[in-house]
Symmetry: D2
Subunit: 297 residues, 4 copies
């Protein structure tokens, strides 16, 4: 769930993660209070984890949404306090300005259900982003994109050798995106590309991962005779379909569904799962650490 009141000028979000240490919430909220920050929401937790044998110890996560009367002076002072508090203790933290929408570039192929859902939610004001560009290797989706007033660029996928098309996409994206979304973009991206892109990449996989990794998951699901089909939104890492999961959901199916029916039914799960994951990311509610995510409500 997003913040409970509309973000206005001067609303910020702080995300912190790192090794558990006592007094974290007091230190952070003290630093906020000192700058007169009005805390709208504050969540701090230390999730359960298996025995320390294979893990380094508990990790704490903290998220605060707060408003500052004079952002120009207040936020730098909060930041300075956090540097003193958290740096050197293995903590990672960011502060985002809720009034500055993230730049989100979407890549799609021929299937447009995930793409259109994002554009439609964006137009309704439910995704706090600006969309400078949609890129696709198919012209089929162009009219749909342009109807929403979003610029469209066609980058053919280029057969076996993807280096040219990847280079072209890099040129378009690098420095212009805070987030890249693969909205059923049916090309596997190279490790080099992922290293160079300079922004987190969210993908939607059309199965309940880790079941049915790779191509043709609905066909595989039919063959296995599952009674539910699913979709998984995750951050992309070099290993195929193995990145940290942000959101998953399923739908009930039965024996009357052939592989094509599973695909049709699954499309509705995919678009919902991807949208919810993108929204959570845009609202600074996701922390990814050690291959897993914490998604604040």
């Amino acid at each position: 769930m997003s913040e409970t009141r509309p973000p206005g000028l001067g609303e910020f979000r702080l995300l912190v993660s790192g090794p558990e240490h006592p007094g974290l919430s007091a230190a952070v909220s003290g630093a906020l209070a000192e700058q007169g920050a009005d805390v709208v929401r504050f969540d701090q937790l230390t999730p359960a984890a298996p025995a320390p044998a294979d893990h380094a110890g508990p990790t704490s996560y903290l998220r605060a949404a707060f408003r500052v009367e004079e952002p120009g002076t207040g936020v730098p002072l909060v930041e300075q306090a956090l540097h003193e508090l958290l740096d050197g203790k293995g903590m990672t933290w960011t502060i985002s300005d809720a009034s500055a929408p993230k730049r989100m570039i979407i890549l799609a192929s021929r299937s447009d259900h995930c793409l259109l859902e994002l554009l439609w939610r964006h137009r309704r004001g439910e995704l706090a982003a600006e969309i400078p560009l949609v890129i696709s290797n198919h012209r089929d989706v162009q009219a749909g994109v342009e109807f929403f007033g979003i610029p469209f660029v066609h980058v053919p996928s280029g057969g076996e050798d993807k280096s040219a098309s990847e280079a072209e996409i890099l040129e378009l994206v690098r420095g212009r995106a805070d987030l890249v979304v693969l909205a059923r973009y049916m090309q596997v991206l190279s490790e080099d590309f992922l290293r160079a892109i300079g922004a987190p990449v969210i993908n939607i996989h059309h199965s309940f991962l880790p079941a049915f990794v790779g191509a043709g998951p609905y066909r595989k699901a039919w063959e296995r005779g599952v009674k539910l089909i699913g979709a998984t939104a995750h951050y992309v890492t070099p290993e195929l379909d193995a990145g940290p999961i942000i959101e998953q959901d399923v739908a009930r199916v039965d024996h009357t569904y052939g592989p094509k029916d599973l695909q049709k039914r699954g499309a509705y799960v995919e678009r919902a799962v991807l949208s919810r994951a993108v929204q959570a990311h845009l609202e600074d509610r996701v922390v990814s650490r050690d291959g897993r995510t914490v998604v604040f409500e």
Copy 2:
């Protein structure tokens, strides 16, 4: 979800609610920090509400789970600090000792599915309560209760005039319960009884309230031809089935279900919904205010 680590000696939970005021989280976590409290979880929020025309202004809710090395001295000092911070500002607050299980007395009638589910979850260690007593107006459930080693008392419902049976129950309950659970107890309790009982009362209603208030909800659901049936756990207030809702859920049904089938299917929803509501209450995750509840995860 319960705390993420097992409650041990010296773990406490603080619940606060009241008119929004800036610096609440800082003040509270500062007071905790000052006593060396180790904060396991900290949640503070100010839910959205309609325009102030009909509401007095935003309300803030705060929950903290924390550990104190020396509870005997630490907690009183925290309490003293909170008195100074919160009293006189319209704030309500409580601190509970997580290691002191609440005393829960259960009232049931002939249907035992909700009752047995509570006893079974209790035995598994999933409900942090002790159960001094189960009271029923039917002897049918006695053997099932005693199998779990819980004392059972039969109080016949006494026909039209319930004052005698209510008096008998009051005698058994008053001063011996921190929570009373109506696990499909099919008697309407009088306003006098509720005033005298001295503990919150949780009821399970076998419909998705506010649909189908009162008796015979499955029959009414069948007549209306609904495609989902539901159950609602709520705190009991004098007005029938109108108290603050803690938890609800539904199950899908179809045209093949007659009224009796709805009742059978519904039993599984009822026992799950009641158990989750009771668990939330026992873990000090529920705040009830202005006829509505906040249920911390």
Copy 3:
């Protein structure tokens, strides 16, 4: 679920309902067999019902999807056989040609989420209908409709006296629609209008009926503090929000949702519920009788 193979020339659907009588399935499938019909799917059931005191006795429902090699001669012969079998026994029956898409006219107001969902599913080939027209009392949705290549007509709602606008809509719809869908059309239709329209009308109500009948259901849901919100698709009858329910669903919400958040979240339930109800109707899977529906899977 739709038929398991694509409807081709010569695929038909039979729906039968009426008082239970032995031998119904044998008689019907015998009549089909005699004409060389290839039965793709055959469902017959007699749902449970309360005691005959208040009901006239069990009702049987039957649906058959079948293919006939020579529709021009085969289907009339099937129809003749069914006349002999079923007429005079209180049975109601229809045969529909699966290759003849129904004509569906949609009425909408300003909110376009249900409307666009229907148009989008239609374009994907998931709704077996042709859409001759969309009518709205707001011009806001015009561009979205025309993007899908569907004609749009603006009929202002005309304030207090709706008779002029209803007459205009009747003029546009009568004789041109097999189904009328109210996709969040925020006007109550008069009894005269419903009598004159000559086609079934499906409405989406933005609550889990029978909870929150009438206007402002999300505001009412917020006030009652429900933990799930819902939507209901039903056939329209003169009594407000009381017609036979075709489909319902819910979504989980919590205390962080204000009334506006409930409305946003609910929009996704509404569009899914309405689409599924419309699809079921278009595939001749719904029988409405005695204020309740049977929806074949």
Copy 4:
């Protein structure tokens, strides 16, 4: 959903599967009609399947629930007709007497949530079976079983060499069970055992198969960071966790769940999924063919 009216003397269920052939429903319902059978429910379908390249062609499935006035003579005549109709065409079929409860033997280990759920549903009259015996390799569950009046036998699992314990179980089960249910029985059964047991075996696996095959699925689920956990009921085949799936379901979890929390939460999904699968089997609603199941509603 079970039959819509209580099974009485003379109610039977027919299950048929095999290569599609026209006139199947007519032939079968004709044979039933000829013997004066009163058909309560009749379902026939030919599910969609991928191209015939890798499959032998469409398969048809048929289920009929019917009542016969004089079972002693009527049913044998129906059977004779079906022999003539279906044998020699690759069709498989069975007729079961709904009034003759199947004999179900349950194997369990220490975790009793699935076991007790089955016993409890059985006592409520929701599982049409008799339970001659529960076998466990742990004495912990004995008192719970005997409370329900069911005989209990302890068969220690016998360490590395399971042949002795398997032989002992075979001795107890063979010829005395129509169905064997593994209610969280934590021993892998040998191929020899499965060949010798002479009854279908249903297992509950504590993950959403095919994800997390084998031991420790909740730990694996935690490591992968999934947002839903699941359970799968399937017929047991020699290949581990690869048999035909009867039922699956999931529950939502989040980052606050450690592996032990997943296990606790999962227990509720397991017991529901196993119970529904067992109920479907007992009501002759499951056909297993080519590694997949058809589950009639």
